[in-house]
């Protein structure tokens, strides 16, 4: 009962919490875009690059998958100043989490590219399309569609990871929640529960949206091998 009273008190902070959560969403957008662009490139290098390029891409992927997000955040936040450069916490967080996400996204895209039958590339080349043109007009449009379910998982995971940017003093929702708690310690539980609920909304609405996107772009006959679902 008392807890609901506390929730009510936290409710007064809700507008500010939501404003802080916009920072999380901005960070999410930035890191997803960075991760998408680099992840696509890394996947393409792994599949179509020569020996050297594909090995390099794999090493990149392994390194960014193996170092904890928090360590990456610190490296990107304190690293540049070591070389005499100033970096904003938002940029540092976008880069750290974006590179990290690119390593995970590249794995998703690579799986999708490899699931496309080799005849697709062959047919495109037989028409006289260059490899790049075939990748752009035949391979990627299929791969991106196949990657949506895997990409939804990545979304679910990084949307929550935006809270880690708290560590590099970004004024996102967890940092704001902590200041509420610092002012009024008995609100700790209620505050963090509210934050958790906010993320439940982010996670599930994001997934629902991606589900819509998947259905919108679904094409009969185009699916991951082993995937269930009607062909027509």
């Amino acid at each position: 009962m008392e807890f609901f009273l506390k929730l009510g008190q936290v409710g007064q902070h809700l507008p500010m919490l939501m404003r802080a959560s916009v920072v999380n969403l901005e960070l999410l957008g930035a890191l997803l875009v960075i991760g998408f662009l680099i992840g696509t490139l890394v996947a393409l290098l792994q599949v179509y690059g020569g020996r050297v390029l594909s090995t390099g891409a794999s090493v990149y992927e392994w390194v960014f998958r193996s170092i904890p997000a928090l360590v990456l955040l610190f490296l990107f936040y304190y690293g540049p100043s070591h070389f005499g450069l100033d970096i904003q916490s938002f940029l540092a967080a976008s880069l750290a989490l974006g590179f990290r996400s690119s390593a995970y996204q590249s794995q998703i895209f690579r799986g999708a590219i490899q699931a496309i039958p080799s005849g697709q590339m062959m047919a495109a080349r037989a028409l006289g399309m260059s490899k790049l043109s075939a990748i752009r007009h035949v391979i990627l449009p299929q791969a991106f569609r196949l990657a949506i379910p895997g990409w939804s998982n990545e979304y679910s995971s990084v949307v929550k990871d935006t809270t880690l940017a708290y560590a590099v003093t970004l004024n996102e929702i967890m940092r704001y929640a902590k200041t509420i708690m610092d002012r009024q310690y008995d609100l700790a539980m209620a505050t963090f529960i509210v934050v958790a609920l906010v993320f439940l909304v982010f996670t599930y609405s994001g997934n629902a949206l991606l589900g819509l996107v998947e259905r919108r772009f679904r094409i009969p006959g185009l699916q991951m091998p082993g995937a269930t679902g009607a062909v027509l």
Binding site: A124, L127, G128, V231
Partner: protein
């Protein structure tokens, strides 16, 4: 260039290809005149598909040369994409672009390779689809079409590039028997219209009635070649006779 080959549309000379230890093609040569239909037959694993793919270098031959209208296809300096744009290829399992509707499958090449304007390419694609009897199927995705329809779309896709010749690699082998006829019909009409074609097939009826010349290949070499009448009635090589009797037993002589 060799003597007597000036008028050949396609000249294939001494093609060799090896996969690991196995030499799949052991020196194959032939030529093709404009408007000619050549049918290649032979047992499985003989290198027929490999040979077709060597012609437009989807597979890189180890040795030997190919000329298309006097341009050396196998030259290192040639822009192979430009050559491929002039050579249609029809695959056994269609390989239609899964994510594109029939119309988009047919106009992708003209737009992206030939640089044709969208409206022009659309018009062309509609015409080619109509030509293979698929007017009205423009918006269907490959998965929504029967095998025979898919193969006809893929023929339209090849035709839309206005190719100098079309290579067919067992175009009816993946089809249910009742769908073979509709594809053969399209191919027969193409031959009549003067399209230059090389067709790998087991359809002896088609070979007999449409081919100007039949090539019998085995184990990476051409065993015998000649007009159908001669090959069917008086094969010079015992292996040819053996193969022909076996294949007619197996596939019958369905006419297209």
């Amino acid at each position: 260039m060799r003597e007597g080959t000036m008028d050949a549309l396609l000249l294939v000379e001494d093609i060799h290809k090896r996969y690991g230890k196995e030499e799949v093609l052991k020196g194959v040569s032939f030529q093709l005149q404009k408007g000619e239909t050549k049918v290649i037959i032979g047992p499985s694993g003989t290198g027929k598909s490999t040979l077709l793919r060597c012609i437009n270098r989807l597979t890189e031959p180890d040795r030997g040369r190919v000329w298309l209208e006097g341009v050396e296809v196998t030259s290192r300096k040639v822009d192979i994409n430009r050559i491929r744009a002039q050579i249609g290829f029809v695959f056994q399992d269609f390989n239609l672009f899964t994510h594109l509707a029939a119309l988009d499958n047919v106009r992708l090449g003209p737009m992206r390779v030939l640089g044709m304007r969208r409206d022009q390419a659309t018009k062309l694609a509609r015409e080619e689809l109509a030509r293979v009897g698929l007017a009205g199927k423009e918006d269907a995705f490959p998965a929504q079409l029967s095998g025979g329809q898919q193969q006809r779309v893929s023929i339209a896709r090849a035709l839309a590039m206005n190719p100098k010749l079309i290579l067919f690699d067992e175009p009816t082998s993946a089809l249910d028997p009742e769908l073979i006829g509709e594809v053969l019909e399209v191919m027969i009409q193409l031959a009549k219209d003067g399209m230059t074609m090389i067709v790998v097939t087991h359809e002896m009826g088609f070979a007999r009635s449409v081919a100007d010349e039949i090539i019998f290949m085995e184990k990476g070499v051409i065993v015998e070649q000649g007009p159908p009448a001669q090959l069917f009635s008086a094969p010079r090589h015992p292996r040819t006779a053996e193969f022909l009797s076996k294949i007619t037993e197996l596939y019958g002589e369905t006419e297209g």
